[in-house]
């Protein structure tokens, strides 16, 4: 197994994908910093300013919206084995196909965590730097900001795992991108307005993510629009566990279904 892990690491680091990951992680963090520099109170429509608790919370939460980026990177990494037809050689070298999928899931979860730590470190650094430069204090204590950022980093790791599993399940890069993207921006939002499904929302991937990242924009918006009570999200660790369960389910399906297909 260590050989497979090492091989996957080699496969990743010998392409430019890691560089794109690095740029995306640093870039999203820097973007949050830029937004902080512009000041949320100057947005159109304006958001609470950086020195208020809501203002800081909103800016950190914006980073939570980008958790799908490492998920896409994970999907692309796995689906590329099919696209470039290296899957044949990979399967010849490791005929028990679940072994290399497990190696990919492990390596990319680590990579996703590294991505999350980089993105959150840049975000945190940028927020504190902007606050210092503007001569104001963030609306939340440093420990609270660090806690939020840490949960987002974990969410990014779990999402990468989810992305790898979806990529292995669908095998097609474009299909994986479309499914992951469409689900989070479209399907789940639609589900939210259904009365029965709304109760399930905390257990859906988006709801679990919101619980983990603490960014409840969507539930708040639906509550405002419909006048219904805000859906209560799960505690953060439970949210994380629900997300991991989804990822493992996708991985199990990926092992049970497509890996049995003829190559």
């Amino acid at each position: 197994m260590t050989a497979l892990l090492f091989a996957e690491w080699t496969r990743l680091t010998r392409t430019r994908l890691w560089l794109w990951g690095l740029l995306a992680a640093g870039g999203t963090g820097a973007l949050i910093g830029l937004l902080a520099l512009a000041g949320p109170e100057n947005f159109d429509p304006p958001l609470p300013a950086l020195h208020t608790a809501q203002g800081t919370h909103a800016l950190v939460g914006l980073l939570g919206v980008t958790v799908f980026v490492p998920a896409l990177l994970g999907s692309v990494a796995v689906a590329s084995e099919h696209r470039h037809r290296t899957i044949t050689t990979t399967t010849l070298y490791a005929p028990r196909r679940w072994t290399w999928l497990a190696a990919k899931l492990t390596v990319y979860t680590g990579v996703g965590l590294a991505y999350g730590l980089l993105a959150t470190a840049v975000t945190g650094g940028a927020l504190f730097a902007v606050a210092a430069a503007k001569g104001l204090t963030l609306g939340l204590p440093a420990a609270a900001v660090a806690g939020m950022l840490g949960r987002i980093a974990v969410a990014m790791a779990v999402y990468t795992l989810l992305g790898v599993a979806v990529g292995a399940l669908l095998r097609n890069q474009v299909a994986a991108l479309v499914v992951v993207g469409a689900y989070f921006y479209f399907v789940e939002t639609l589900l939210m307005v259904l009365p029965g499904v709304r109760e399930l929302y905390p257990y859906l991937p988006g709801g679990a993510t919101a619980a983990l990242t603490g960014f409840t924009y969507l539930t708040d918006a639906v509550a405002t629009q419909t006048g219904q009570a805000v859906t209560h999200l799960l505690p953060a660790p439970v949210g994380a566990a629900v997300l991991v369960a989804y990822a493992l389910l996708a991985a199990a399906l990926a092992i049970a279904v497509p890996l049995r297909r003829d190559i």
């Binding site: 010998r14 430019r16 070298y93 005929p95 290399w100």
Partner: protein, 293 residues
Amino acid sequence: MNIEVRGLTKAYGAVRAVSDLSFDLPPATVTGFLGPNGSGKTTTMRMMLGLVTPTAGTATFGGRRYADLRNPSAVVGAVLDSAGFHPAHTARDHLLVYARMARHGVRRVRQVMHLTGVAAFADRGTRALSTGMRQRLSLATALLGDPRVLLLDEPSNGLDPEGIAWLRGFLRDLAAEGRTVLVSSHVLGEIEHLAGHVVLIRRGRLVTTGPLSLLYGTAAVLVRTPQADLLAARLTATGTPVEHAGHDLLRVHGLSAPEVAETAAHHGVVLHEITPERPSLEQTFLHLTGDPR
């Protein structure tokens, strides 16, 4: 190591791509796996390697299925048309990934690069490789584990004559080192100077298997002589089948060119031309199956 294929069958719905196919590969020999396009050669090889699940039957290497081998790439190497490379990887990167996967070591990567000539373009991206270079890289990947068995699916497809000659010599050397090699082809000419053994299939079924000379049983000799009728009469008298292929041209079956020449000399027949006629695969099929397709 015994390599046995027993009753291998693959059905796609009602279509049988491979039907109850059984053969053995003789050790330390190049075996030609012959059949027209679409006769089931690729499907058979993919089943042997566990990439395609057989509907019935087994293929074993020393008694074990490919997927049950402890370190399969150290036992069987495969060059398949369908195997690709990540375009962002160099040739060296590609070999390194798979060497690490099966613990074959970085030194072995250098060895196979020199062995196959990949060293000349080791640091070029695989997207920029020619067909010949890609084939060499596939071969290098197959040899990483120093396997005793090699399966190659139409390895000369797309190669220029120089590349084909190199490949032929390379495979012959591998067999001379004691390796068992299976090379598929739809062109008999590619196999005849290389293989010592053949497995012939048609429409997914075994036609025949045995030494290469099996195919030459069907060879004929073309003879051009102004005394065609006299020679034909003399040969027919000894029970040799003779066909008139033109007014001064005979096609003699069942004798070698020297035998025909000696018979002619014995009867004082002047020969203007004598040519051993190599059968095309299609003619061999016609002979062995009584059916041109």
